[in-house]
């Protein structure tokens, strides 16, 4: 197993973050939301359009050559630009690729981002909720899937939860404790989609979706976009914000599939995270806050184990202990996550990790003296994983 080059650790930084309006944004478009987020990220960095010479993004699945459309909207000819195809793992991968491109001399300042009008496109009229798929039919598997009654990411991830429950005694209470913890974070975030408290009792009464998941185990349908600006740590010293250093990253993709071997319960997060920790020169104990890809409650539970925050099989009890709360052992998804803030395929988790390390918040939301953050991305056909370890830079 190879590990990322340690000499790159801390050599590059995230210097700007931006997001669009979030939640239910009637009349929005995927490209328009991302355009707004990218403008905000560049402004946040104290940079301007001529500084940007790279664009890496992942578009809605139905827009061809997405980065070209973004460059057109932004009015930028790029030295380096491309669109990624690793699902929810793409957003961290775009930052990794930005570092690689800058280090190779391809470009200097890269805009990375993702946006989607997922709520608007599924709520255009009363029938759209059932009839408008989030993944275009021609991109779905053509066989060994729908004819067997398998539909959507929820069924795939529920298979993982079901096997984990059988192997390790994981319970619905364990899954629920994750949904409840993230809802508590969301209630402190004015931008979050979910505004109502979630008790364990209310969790258990949630509308069933695909056993063992009910509606509260599933992430939200959101209009929204997020973007970041990446450049060298050297250049970051002269910019407006406290730099957040890119200390470690890693990827691993279990391409043989979710059904293969033990991929459902021993996810690609383990080897992706191992690379990131190796590059950063730290371990799970040093992490002050984790922002984990929470498309479903179960993915948080297995990632807690796969990243080594607890032993395999202990993710449920670890979450139940209160570890994920703001004063817990590992404050996680402190903006409410995709389960309660909004689902922008991991982009908001990257922004929250950065904001925590900038110490952007008042005491009600701030992870006390946060120096290190872990952010994860997971997706594709449930098998791609990317990890990012961020460190608060010098003042």
């Amino acid at each position: 197993m190879s590990n990322p080059n340690r000499t790159l650790s801390g050599k590059y930084a995230i210097v700007g973050v931006g997001q669009s309006d979030l939640g239910q944004v009637p009349g929005s478009s995927s490209l328009g939301l991302l355009n707004e987020a990218m403008h905000n990220a560049v402004n946040d960095a104290g940079l301007s359009k001529p500084d940007i010479d790279g664009i890496i993004c992942r578009g809605p699945d139905d827009v061809y050559t997405h980065h070209q459309r973004m460059g057109e909207l932004l009015g930028i000819d790029a030295q380096f630009s491309t669109t990624l195809d690793n699902g929810g793992a793409s957003q961290i991968l775009s930052i990794i690729l930005a570092v690689m491109a800058i280090d190779a001399g391809m470009c200097d300042v890269v805009l990375c981002g993702y946006g989607r009008d997922s709520w608007s496109r599924t709520h255009r009229d009363t029938t759209a909720r059932m009839s408008v798929p989030l993944v275009p039919p021609e991109q779905e598997r053509s066989e060994f899937n729908a004819e067997m009654g398998m539909f959507g990411a929820v069924g795939m991830h529920a298979l993982g939860a079901s096997r984990h429950m059988a192997l390790y005694g994981t319970s619905k209470d364990h899954l629920g404790s994750i949904a409840v913890a993230f809802r508590e974070h969301a209630l402190r975030n004015p931008a979050a989609q979910m505004k109502q408290p979630l008790s364990m009792e209310k969790y258990h009464s949630g509308r069933p979706i695909v056993d063992p998941f009910n509606m509260y185990d599933c992430s939200l349908v959101t209009d929204g976009a997020g973007a970041v600006v990446v450049c060298s740590a050297e250049r970051a010293k002269d910019l407006r914000q406290i730099p957040v250093l890119i200390s470690g990253f890693g990827t691993f993709n279990n391409l043989r599939g979710w059904y293969y071997d033990e991929h459902m319960t021993d996810t690609a997060a383990r080897r992706s995270g191992g690379k990131a920790f190796s590059m950063a020169g730290i371990g799970p104990k040093e992490i002050d806050t984790a922002q984990l890809y929470d498309c479903f409650t179960y993915m948080v539970l297995t990632q807690l184990e796969d990243y080594g925050f607890c032993a395999k099989g202990e993710g449920g009890p670890f979450a139940m202990s209160g570890a994920l709360g703001l004063d817990g052992a590992l404050p996680s998804n402190t903006s409410g996550g995709q389960l309660s803030e909004g689902h922008v395929e991991g982009m908001l988790q990257i922004l929250e990790g950065i904001r925590q390390l900038r110490h952007s918040y008042g005491p009600d939301r701030q992870v006390s003296d946060a120096q290190w953050a872990l952010v994860s991305g997971h997706g594709g056909n449930t098998v791609c994983h990317s990890s990012l370890i961020l460190q608060r830079g010098g003042a």
């Binding site: 066989e143 729908a146 004819e147 067997m148 539909f151 993982g160 059988a166 056993d211 459902m264």
Partner: protein, 132 residues
């Protein structure tokens, strides 16, 4: 349910013989002539040793339940909920997706023994599984 059609497979060139055998209620898996491994879904080369030399082998249809879920929300009008879908660890080695045909969901458990049965949809015969 007249007018409501079940989703049916859209085979690739590599999987046409598999589906044709299903029509005759024969469950075929590709088996590598070089390394002996079975795999699924069917492809042109053995994914273990990359050999192009393999043949179709009639499988036992026996396996155990790797994992399962029960669909409660209706995603397709032809799939009336609740119904169970599982990943089955076949005796020959591969893990494959299939419906688990039962109404007694309480009896489903990971590692339970299963056997193949046939699920007829539109003009298709689709592998499914039941308790063994």
């Amino acid at each position: 349910m007249s007018g409501v059609h079940r989703p049916v497979p859209r085979p690739s060139p590599e999987t046409v013989p598999f589906w044709e055998a299903c029509q005759q209620e024969r469950f075929l898996l590709p088996r590598c002539s070089q390394c002996g491994s079975f795999w699924f879904p069917p492809t042109a080369f053995c994914p273990e040793c990359w050999s192009p030399n393999w043949d179709w082998h009639e499988a036992t249809g026996l396996g155990s339940l790797h994992s399962f879920v029960i669909f409660r929300r209706q995603y397709h009008p032809a799939f009336v909920t609740p119904y169970a879908v599982g990943v089955v660890h076949l005796k020959e080695g591969p893990n494959i997706l299939g419906r688990i045909l039962t109404n007694d969901f309480e009896k489903l458990h990971v590692e339970m023994p299963l056997t193949l049965m046939w699920d007829r949809a539109e003009e298709w015969v689709i592998p499914a599984f039941q308790s063994f």
